[in-house]
């Protein structure tokens, strides 16, 4: 499968605008396509609309106007009952982690698998392996309140990737971890990416961009998307591994 395969687009935005109630538009005229197996960095100043765009991507919000297609299906008119099936194809790392406070690290990471109906016996090992990999093997039973910011972030990332989503959306995923762990987490995203997962990482950290050479950059400026390298309109040919 190549990125030229238009039928396999993960996400397609066409003249999308978003405003909350009667306020000004937070996002304006967004038109772009995310291809399978691509790695995107979403950058922009605070308040540029990065989180709002991510909310549209992980189907937490419907746009005020425009058209969004996800996995080849119109996401705007998608019936509410079909949303869960689409959301299960996504992995999300929230900026504020959004861990379930009364669940242990293990149960938080296991949550997407349980929601998908995976049997307990089948999720024990993957969840333990994942927690071990993000360096939290000894905090498996700890609740979020007893974890540091960095540890919570790693649990949030483990939860987002445990189900091997078709698209991973991460909002400042390395904001609370040390540089070494940040690189390690990026390697995890890259590994997922190599397996065909489309990755979108919103970040302020310009150093991070250099760490993933094949990544494409989406830059938001006051709600408008700029395409500094032309990579969004004319993406370089690259075969995604499946």
């Amino acid at each position: 499968m190549t990125i030229d395969d238009a039928d396999a687009d993960v996400v397609q935005f066409d003249n999308v605008g978003l405003r909350y109630e009667t306020g000004r538009e937070i996002l304006t005229d967004l038109s772009f396509t995310l291809y399978p197996g691509s790695f995107y960095f979403l950058t922009g100043a605070s308040g540029a609309g990065k989180t709002s765009l991510l909310r549209l991507l992980y189907l937490a919000q419907r746009p005020s106007r425009g058209m969004i297609k996800m996995f080849g299906t119109d996401a705007i008119t998608l019936p509410r009952e079909r949303l869960p099936g689409f959301r299960r194809r996504l992995g999300v790392v929230f900026q504020d982690f959004r861990l379930v406070p009364h669940l242990s690290a293990f149960d938080n990471v296991a949550l997407p698998l349980r929601v998908a109906g995976i049997a307990e016996r089948d999720l024990l090992k993957p969840v333990r392996d994942m927690l071990e990999w993000v360096g939290l093997a000894d905090r498996i039973g700890a609740r979020p309140a007893t974890l540091s910011g960095g540890e919570q972030q790693r649990v949030a990332i483990a939860r987002a990737v445990i189900g091997r989503p078709q698209m991973l959306v991460a909002d400042e995923p390395t904001g609370n971890v040390d540089p070494e762990m940040a690189v390690k987490l990026l390697r995890l995203f890259e590994a997922l990416n190599r397996l065909g997962t489309t990755v979108v990482v919103a970040t302020h950290d310009v150093h991070l961009l250099k760490k993933v050479p094949d990544s494409l950059i989406m830059r938001l400026d006051r709600g408008r998307l700029s395409d500094p390298t032309g990579a969004l309109r004319y993406p370089p040919r690259r075969a995604a591994t499946t």
Partner: protein, 321 residues
């Protein structure tokens, strides 16, 4: 750097398009606040106790009314209202004989004078009734009584027919259907039964309202968690099931306590009423079928609570994307 094993195998676990079961044992832990603990089980216990007691009251009243009606239906009382004891005795004998020979009359009993004396003794004292020819002048003339039982339904037409037959042989005879005397009592019992049923309905509404409020509160408290589960692909049905399961546990606990309280109350009250020794009250005792009906009250309340919680949660979830 070695990746976790799950990243090196292809198992599209999250590609499920549609609702999947959220394993129940773990699912309940998702929203612990949704376990409507605290006052909720006690509210349900009180509701179940009151409903079960009201149901027992309604069943008891129905039984008492049915027993009295069964006993009195077809029963006829003939009074010979004659001041002259000799004429009274003669007419009584003649009336009893006529009744006995009338088709449809299955039993006739001329009430002995000793029984009549015993009946009026509490009010008039001893030896005051004019029993017969030997009674003194100061004695009070008391009508002779004949009890008869007719087969089939006792209609006004049959009463009129009896009156006509007796008029020839016992002109002083007055014929009354026994059930007619208790008609106001039956009407009162019917009203009390309706009242008990209305009470049960009101308690049902109150239970549903209490569950609705508790479910909404729990939803509000757990809104963040619910949103996360939604964003991870959880369906409305999965989330509703968690709340439904929680409230079913609470309702089951409350229901058991409520049923125990109600049973104790009903047994104690039953014994108190049995001590009255009244025929009408004795007829109101509960049989095993009634107890089975009372035992169904907590089950009905549990079902009502679970259904209310489910509908409340589903309705609230529909407002979320």
């Amino acid at each position: 750097m070695k990746m976790p094993a799950m990243l090196s195998r292809r198992d599209d676990a999250t590609g499920v398009d549609g609702p999947a079961p959220l394993r129940s044992e773990r699912a309940a832990e998702l929203v612990p606040q949704a376990r409507l603990s605290g006052p909720m089980p006690w509210v349900i216990a009180i509701m179940v106790a009151l409903t079960a007691i009201a149901a027992a009251g309604a069943l008891s009243l129905r039984n008492a009314g049915s027993a009295a009606q069964a006993e009195l239906s077809g029963g006829v009382t003939v009074q010979i209202v004659e001041a002259d004891p000799a004429a009274r005795a003669r007419q009584a004998e003649a009336a009893a004989a006529t009744l006995a020979s009338t088709s449809g009359v299955v039993a006739v009993r001329l009430v002995p004078q000793s029984e009549i004396d015993a009946l009026i003794e509490p009010w008039l004292g001893e030896g005051t009734a004019a029993a017969g020819a030997g009674a003194g002048d100061d004695s009070i003339p008391v009508p002779a009584l004949i009890e008869a039982r007719l087969a089939g339904k006792l209609t006004p037409a049959r009463i009129a027919d009896l009156r006509q037959r007796l008029a020839g042989v016992a002109p002083a005879a007055r014929v009354d259907a026994q059930a007619g005397w208790l008609r106001p009592v039956f009407a009162a019992i019917g009203s009390l039964e309706l009242l008990a049923l209305a009470l049960i309905a009101l308690l049902g509404f109150a239970t549903a309202a209490a569950v609705l409020l508790a479910a909404r509160t729990a939803l509000g408290t757990n809104r963040d968690t619910i949103e996360i589960v939604h964003l991870l692909g959880g369906t409305d049905a999965q989330i509703a099931r968690i709340f439904q399961r929680s409230i079913t546990f609470d309702a089951a606990g409350g229901g058991a306590v409520g049923l125990a309280l109600a049973t104790l109350t009903i047994v104690v009250l039953g014994r108190r009423f049995a001590g009255l020794g009244s025929g009408l009250v004795d007829g109101g005792s509960l049989d095993w079928l009634d107890w089975a009906g009372i035992a169904l009250v907590p089950l009905a309340v549990i079902a009502l609570a679970a259904l209310t919680a489910r509908l409340t949660v589903l309705r609230a979830l529909r407002t979320m994307l």
